[in-house]
Symmetry: C3
Subunit: 174 residues, 3 copies
Amino acid sequence: MPLPKLTLVLGGAASGKSAFAENLVLQSGNAPVYLATAQVFDDEMAEKVTRHRNMRGAGWTTIEQPLDLGTALANITPQQTVLIDCATLWLTNVILGDHDVADHTNALLTSIVACQGPVVVVSNEVGQGIVPDNALSRKFRNAQGGLNQQIAAEADLVVAVMAGLPLTLKGRFP
Amino acid sequence: MPLPKLTLVLGGAASGKSAFAENLVLQSGNAPVYLATAQVFDDEMAEKVTRHRNMRGAGWTTIEQPLDLGTALANITPQQTVLIDCATLWLTNVILGDHDVADHTNALLTSIVACQGPVVVVSNEVGQGIVPDNALSRKFRNAQGGLNQQIAAEADLVVAVMAGLPLTLKGRFP
Amino acid sequence: MPLPKLTLVLGGAASGKSAFAENLVLQSGNAPVYLATAQVFDDEMAEKVTRHRNMRGAGWTTIEQPLDLGTALANITPQQTVLIDCATLWLTNVILGDHDVADHTNALLTSIVACQGPVVVVSNEVGQGIVPDNALSRKFRNAQGGLNQQIAAEADLVVAVMAGLPLTLKGRFP
């Protein structure tokens, strides 16, 4: 099943969103490219990265790039489908690096629109809990909500994943 | 598109629920009234109020009322549509003011049902994170969940918003 | 309306998921059995248990079992429908008792599949807030997400509840 130009897969932590997105990419018929935004600072993240890599299995080209996704996206060919996993870790890197969120978001969206292959973005829903008690977390969830809205506005297909099951919010599930 | 008597727009923080609700009100054909429940205690809330006001633009009648919405709702005419933004800040004001939640909720629902114009209520989903570690937050999310259920039971139309996109939970999207 | 073999009812805190699940069980035509996993350690939980019991009303057979649900499920007859309320408290008991999550989950799923009457499981969505700042909460929400995915994969019907309203994620609402 061919994928449209831009797909957003939204979900909570451990919702199965990455596995769902990987299946979409694998079923697109194009060569799968995994654009990993995680920065490994501790054992917990190292374990998660290893677990996700094993889950994906062979056949993927993996590019590790925590911040500037422009170059990687510019090199994608029409015969490839790229999975950005995930926008939440990318946004974390933007904010913790004290970069401008609006500038980096606009640059990312421009790169996504210009990409020659289909793009699938995985992102977290983080706004459905109680108000966090620290200002950085509140800033982060506002930025994450805004980023999700901006990607969703550009996307042809938006799917929320809950307990591994998809719920289509925009477009038609291929 | 005319709106039914009562619409509930649910969503997480920064989900785009207010912008979505404002569009509903503007498209209702009635004169838009904004019933603001925010109390400005700090710069963060002041910035949010200003940002929302700019987003709404001109044409709205704004009423600021943190707690007793009955008088404002009683003055709405059949040629107006009123947006209560939001039930979450209203509930915060009820709880922080140490008022009775059940009494105030019943009074609010009575006022909404008696209102002569269509009412749109914006409210937060706050129960899909991890259990908060303080009792006030747990009390708040239980009260918020109960309030959302009560409004939803009265509502003709209930829409959840995620990444700016609507998902109809009850009724038909106009 | 007869229920399929396994139904999962997902929702946030105070979303109305238990009341919704109880109605499903009552409408199944079978004798209702309530399999309660709560352990009462404090007044807050005692109050919750009492409130839920009053909400259910008479007519239910109640079994209290915090951890090993196998025996209770093995005793269910084809003329009964059993409600497990809830998988989240069960998982809390597994983790706080320092038991192996994977082993206990597999045993639970085996018991559910072997149960002679329809099973309805209530579980929480806990992954849509900001990342918790303590490791145990992060471990818990990962385990909860994984458990929800595993139950959902086995289930014939999966319903998310928000503000008391159902959203079907899998199967057909009976």
